[in-house]
Amino acid sequence: MIMQTSPSSSYRLRVSKLSKSFTLHNRGAIEIEAFSDVSFCIDPGELLALTGPSGAGKSSVLKTIYRTYKPGSGQVLLQRGGQLVDLAACSDSEMLEYRRADIGFVTQFLKILPRVSAVDVVAAPLVALGRGLENARAEAVDLLRRLYIREDLFSLSPLTFSGGEQQRVNIARGVIAPKKLLLLDEPTASLDDKSAAMVLEILNNLKQQGICILAIFHDRQRMEQIADNEFNIMEYNS
């Protein structure tokens, strides 16, 4: 596998010298470094795998790009149409708009509101785009079936599901209305081989549609089946 370093001009996402640390005021103001000086580019249709040992800061990189964590220093440049925006410097309102229109995030653990059925959780991104409810639900049902979710679970809240089932609902919601940039945190970690293979097939499909993907994988073998490039956070972290 080739290590990704060369900046290309056709990139969709360019992360440049991004750093993040936490100051815990109520614990003697200690500083915890999440990661520092991270730089890489991702092209449309490319899947870049973020690798490194546990605690290296991989999840924090995704959260900082998505602004769940406040960026320390550096840039996160995203091409949207003819416009180049810095996600590390834009306003909160702008970030909300970019999240709505351009960036999908499948977090490691499913975060949803209670009392919403699995089908509606998955259909929600389509409904938000103005798709009719019946139509959106039908598509959600298809996707849940493809991911081997049992039919009798469809109308229940995923909060009661097993870890693997929750993860598949999370992925289904993240890919049903794919945006230009997709962030994935260990999407196959608690999946059996059959479900994991289906997830990889779906990701492959997204790549062919030109979606740009930044992903963390738990399992090196699965990562190598799908990644175009790898960025090891420890090797590049000075």
Binding site: L24, H25, N26, K70, D92, S93, M95, L96
Partner: protein
């Protein structure tokens, strides 16, 4: 931009003239050390975009309710400006709503902005029926025909999951949760661009709270208005809002995307607030 607040302050009581400068979070107090006046809101700047949901958290007495009351013009501004896009001057530019006269304020409340109070007695007239409270707004918005007014009242009752069969009863006869629903129904009748909610579910049973929060979320998405939600409860803030503002001593100490404020709080006070619920 729907609402833009610049340097807004509110002093309760007679001011010695230095109150605002001598208070605020950097001074560690909201009480003027010279004259003892309370500076409930201290030089606040805030923006709300279309369809955005802003949350305001902070301990009791930090000025959250006063801030909403200033925007809704329940109380007079001491200093600062508030530009609300829906209220325009003759030049078509937003006017400073801090300077509205009474008629203009009534117009704003009838057709552009609405408030849900924690205490339903502040938001509803208990001498009218539930439907009558809604009809008041429907009439103010221009409907004159009795049948149409009644139909609208029924529509908003249904929209907020209230039993239409009880539309002629006084709010008194409804449960606390239903009284909040009547307030919401009344607010919707003004077809607001901005909805202000002051602790809308505080004091209700947990299950009733959940239903009302769900309903507010659905209505906000469906009807696309902006909201400012005041709550001391981070669960409510997480459930409803996109952006969160943290207040203490009348000042904003932190502001950010709601998930960021909850997962990566910056200010010492916010870190304490977040860690105390985990």
């Amino acid at each position: 931009m729907l609402l833009e607040i610049e340097n807004l302050s509110k002093v309760y009581g007679k001011s010695c003239g230095q109150c605002i400068a001598l208070t605020g979070d950097d001074m560690g107090t909201a009480i003027c050390p010279v004259c003892g006046a309370v500076v409930a809101v201290n030089r606040i700047n805030l923006r709300v975009e279309d369809n955005e949901v802003l949350g305001i958290v902070g301990e009791s007495g930090s000025g959250k309710s006063t801030l909403l009351q200033l925007i809704y013009r329940d109380t007079k501004t001491t200093e600062g400006k508030m530009f609300f896009r829906e209220m325009q001057g003759e030049d078509g530019e937003p006017v400073d709503i801090a300077g509205l006269n009474m008629m203009e304020t009534v117009l704003m409340r009838n057709t552009m902005m609405a408030m849900i109070y924690q205490n339903p007695r502040l938001g509803l007239n208990f001498l009218f029926s539930g439907g009558g409270n809604i009809a008041e707004k429907v009439i103010a918005a221009g409907q004159r025909n009795y049948e149409d007014i009644r139909k609208s009242a029924c529509y908003f009752f249904e929209k907020t999951d209230l039993p239409v069969s009880r539309i002629d009863q006084s709010p008194e006869t409804f449960s606390g949760g239903q009284q909040q629903r009547i307030q919401i129904a009344k607010a919707l009748a003004a077809s607001p661009r901005l909805l202000l909610l002051d602790e809308p579910t505080t004091g209700l049973d947990v299950s009733v709270q959940a239903q009302i929060l769900d309903m507010i979320r659905v209505l906000q998405k469906e009807l696309s208005f902006s909201m400012i939600v005041v709550s001391h409860d981070l669960g409510v803030i997480r459930h409803l809002t996109d952006i969160t503002v943290v207040m203490r001593n009348g000042s904003i100490v932190e502001q950010g995307l709601t998930d960021q404020v909850l997962e990566d709080p910056q200010h010492v006070y916010t870190q304490l607030l977040v860690s105390s619920v985990l």
